[in-house]
Amino acid sequence: MKTIGVLTAAAGLALAPAAQQQPFRGAVDVVTLEVAVFQANRPVSGLTSRDFVVTDNGVRQSVTAVSAASLPVDLTVALDTSGSMSESIDVLASQLRSAVRDLRPTDRVRLVTFDWGVREVFPLQPPGPGVPFDAMKAGGMTSLHDALSGLLMHARAPGRIDLAVLFTDAVDNTSAMTLAAAAEIARRSDVLLHVYVVRAGEDVAVDAVLGRPDYRPLEDIATTTGGRLDVVLADNRIVTGLGRALADMRASYTLRFTSAGVARAGWHALGVSIDRPGTFVVRARRGYFGE
């Protein structure tokens, strides 16, 4: 009589007909990906195309690399405004205004909130004093998986980086979409997603007794897109999280290559490494689906 497990519903969806249009490909054969490179936890700058070794299903590709800092960003901030994240709208709006000060005039920002449902508070627009951050409402249950799915299906504008930064307490209780479906969508998404799990001090104390909740499925979705999951404390979380996400993104590289020497159809596992002495940590999406 009790629930005992979750079937991977999205596996069925994955059997859908082959893609007619390539994920994050500007043209049929051109693949684009954002790559962040770290050494001793610090972003590595000054890399050129020759420093990157990129493999597509194990076959090395010839890439061109440009600094992501040279590309305009479309930033989506997604805020969990459910009752469990109760904080005044004024505080959230104030944090958002501070946090987007680092955006440039060519960048754009939009705000999505989620509680019972997922709502675009305002669409992509240039940053500035007129951005209506205080048009949010709060309260209700949480449709986190719906929000994730919706964000990841966003259409990337040509020549721009599509960055989504999501803040949540990682509780979901009203979604229609499953986490498995969101994970399938992430594998094909053009969006670079960072997730910040917001915890209060008392949550951390409870964790010490009961153990920390398992964020791995959520983390897996973020890392699939080339992003990451971090846990932040509630105070000033938006300034901290957005600051990190933007700094990471500006210090990263946009690589392009024309896939060669591999079959086009199906999943393409991507490998990215650095051809320089030293130990590097490279963060990039794990692959893409071909026609």
Binding site: T3, I4, L7, G12, W116, S149, M153, A155
Partner: protein, 308 residues
């Protein structure tokens, strides 16, 4: 009783003013002591109408404070109102409306004990009302742990009484569509996609109500995913979206199916549309675990109308 007088002349603000969580107990005590006298104060001619005023006032007070007040307080207040209806010699359509609204509200809270008590009171007055069969199913389902669960979560075993309650309801024409809808959901959860598709198809065929039709097609889509029929599932999700374009659940599942099959532009357009509409809280899937609570706005609206 002054609040009742104000409510009787159509001042809805009075509920907000008096029905604070702290005051629900006082309202109950006042109605228990003086409510019947107030109902009868203007003689036989007005008694039935004033009874409707007093019991609807009690119901609205519970709704206003229900998120924070202790279960026992709202239970006792509603029991006072249900007992009061028994003083009517003949059950009326307004009384039926009141019982339906009460049951809708209590299903929204998800308290099976209160729903059971309210159902017993309603059944005593209206023994042949078909809707009670659905409420019985909801109680059995909720008590068994079969709901609420996330979509497509596998339920290994469903208590036989749950299925039987909805099978019984499915032969009653007034509630047949909804009974089939619940069976579609349960058979999807039990990983019996063929039965789920049959029930979902029946549910959609037997009603013109957009919320029920949209949910039926959504559940059919989930069952078809279970059956490995992705293309048919996509078509079912499109039917769900067409039946109720405001449903965010239907829009997201259709978008997901389109996105994964490579139709990314249409998927993105649908997602943008559903996010911009801001109607997520009205989604029938999100209200589904709460049974008849989806009917609450309509029922309380009809009750208020009857008070005029």
């Amino acid at each position: 009783m002054q609040a009742l007088e104000l409510y009787a002349v159509g001042d809805p603000e009075v509920i907000r003013m008096v029905a604070t969580p702290r005051e629900v107990g006082s309202i109950r005590a006042a109605l228990a002591q003086d409510g019947r006298a107030w109902i009868r104060a203007n003689g036989k001619a007005e008694e039935s109408h004033r009874r409707l005023v007093a019991t609807t006032f009690a119901l609205e007070a519970v709704r206003h404070a229900i998120d924070t007040v202790e279960d026992r307080e709202f239970d006792l207040l509603l029991r006072w109102a249900a007992d009061e209806w028994r003083n009517e010699a003949r059950p009326s359509p307004e009384e039926l409306l009141w019982h339906n609204a009460t049951l809708a509200l209590l299903q929204g809270v998800g308290d099976t004990t209160s729903v059971t008590a309210a159902l017993n009171a309603a059944r005593n007055r209206f023994p042949n009302e078909p809707r009670w069969a659905l409420v019985r199913g909801w109680i059995a389902e909720f008590a068994s742990g079969a709901r609420p669960v996330p979509p497509l979560q596998h339920i290994a075993e469903i208590a036989p009484g749950v299925i039987q309650a909805y099978v019984d309801a499915s032969v009653l024409p007034d509630v047949s569509a909804e009974a089939h809808l619940h069976l579609a959901y349960l058979f999807t959860s039990r990983n019996d996609p063929a039965a789920a598709v049959d029930h979902a198809t029946e549910a959609a065929r037997r009603t013109t109500e957009a919320e029920i039709r949209s949910l039926a097609h959504l559940f059919r889509g989930w069952a078809l995913i279970r059956a490995g029929r992705s293309t048919d599932a996509q078509s079912a999700f499109r039917d769900a979206h067409n039946a109720l374009p405001a449903s965010q659940s239907a829009a997201l599942w259709l978008s997901g199916a389109l996105f994964l099959s490579g139709e990314r532009q249409e998927a993105a357009r649908l997602v943008d549309g559903t996010m911009r509409s801001g109607l997520g809280e009205l989604d029938p899937w999100r209200l589904y675990p709460r049974g008849d609570f989806r009917l609450w706005p309509r029922l309380i609206g009809q009750l208020r109308q009857a008070l005029r």
